[in-house]
């Protein structure tokens, strides 16, 4: 975290870059439950772990889920992999929080700056823990389903 938003642009740059990436991904990528498409063309990359073992790796479906979330299809994204919506909403929340922090830091009120920083760190830690649990929990469910023959593509 930077010393002061007016002097150090770290929070602004990171927040703005995350939002820019989200907008760019929304414009360039599309997805269904089978594939991700870049400018309408399918990306034909298969997971080597899945090919080798028939089981999903921890990131199988994450790209599709992320792109579906950015496309507003939250239900499909959650069904594909719960970590996708959680990551996207977390990244967008982080971006908004960083831009808000940068605005507060410009006010040159140390108390507000410290309070905002403390709030972001605590919320970030809580979110991080929840995101990891969601990610690994979702993967564990898919893994067990695949082991019992219920593998989704």
């Amino acid at each position: 975290m930077d010393q002061a938003g007016s002097r150090s642009p770290l929070a602004t740059v990171v927040g703005a870059t995350i939002l820019f990436d989200a907008v760019l991904a929304r414009m360039l990528l599309a997805a269904d439950t089978q594939r991700v498409y870049f400018l309408g063309k399918p990306i034909l990359i298969a997971c080597a772990f899945r090919r080798a073992t028939g089981l999903p790796c921890p990131t199988c479906g994450l790209t599709r889920s992320t792109v579906l979330t950015l496309d507003g299809k939250l239900g499909a994204a959650w069904h594909m992999m719960p970590a996708g919506p959680v990551f996207v909403l977390g990244a967008l929340g982080l971006a908004v929080a960083l831009l808000g922090y940068a605005a507060v830091a410009r006010s040159e009120r140390p108390a507000s700056r410290l309070a905002a920083r403390r709030w972001i760190v605590r919320a970030g830690l809580a979110y991080g823990a929840a995101a990891v649990v969601t990610w690994l929990g979702g993967w564990a469910v898919q893994f067990l389903q695949a082991m019992h023959g219920g593998l989704r593509s």
């Binding site: 010393q3 002097r7 990171v14 820019f20 990436d21 298969a46 772990f49 090919r51 080798a52 990131t59």
Partner: protein
């Protein structure tokens, strides 16, 4: 200031010319005697970029080793050696890049920087990483700097922006330097 002399913005006293690149936020007491390490000036972007590329090659070598290990294990599991088992390891790259960055970085970016002030790449181009007081970074600060850099690697375009930032930053800092308030300065003697 027509003769090029710098003056302290707080007390108005003339400052030694060699001490111009003083970090912002330094206490007045410390500013009265600028750390000698800043006298050589901030590292140029070119030097930093060359050092970054050398350190990046080390991370690439780490990735290659991890990739071969992972691919060998997968090929062995499926008995697919020679049948395209190495194709499409996108998730592996997603995991291998941060893993290699952290593994190589723990030695190159944390241990070496905390012990002597420069990574292998920085040593080649004679630059050094110091805190606002001219001291070497602590292990914890160097580790935090590495973590910030690795996390930035997940955000598209941010690593490029981070590398280019010293081009227009008055103190020649990258974004991950700003995160821990450190500076990269010239180190002509290589000490």
């Amino acid at each position: 200031m027509a003769d090029g002399t710098a003056y302290c913005p707080t007390c108005g006293a003339a400052q030694p010319r060699a001490a111009t690149p003083v970090p912002l936020g330094m206490p007045v007491a410390a500013a009265a005697s600028y750390p000698a390490v800043f006298a050589a000036g901030y590292a140029s972007w070119g030097n930093r970029a060359v050092g970054f590329l050398i350190d990046g090659l080390l991370v690439g070598a780490g990735m290659a080793i991890l990739y071969l290990l992972a691919a060998t294990v997968l090929a062995s599991i499926a008995g697919l050696a020679g049948h395209g088992a190495f194709v499409g390891m996108c998730c592996m790259f997603l995991l291998l890049f941060p893993a290699a960055t952290l593994l190589v970085g723990l030695y190159n970016g944390v241990y070496l920087i905390a012990q002597r002030g420069y990574s292998i790449g920085q040593g080649v181009v004679h630059v050094k990483t110091v805190d606002a007081y001219g001291n070497l970074l602590s292990q914890g600060t160097a580790f935090l700097r590495l973590v910030v850099r690795a996390v930035m690697g997940f955000v598209p375009f941010l690593p490029a922006l981070d590398l280019l930032w010293p081009l227009w930053d008055e103190r020649g800092q990258t974004l991950h330097d700003k995160a821990v308030n450190c500076y990269v300065v010239n180190n002509p003697q290589g000490i």
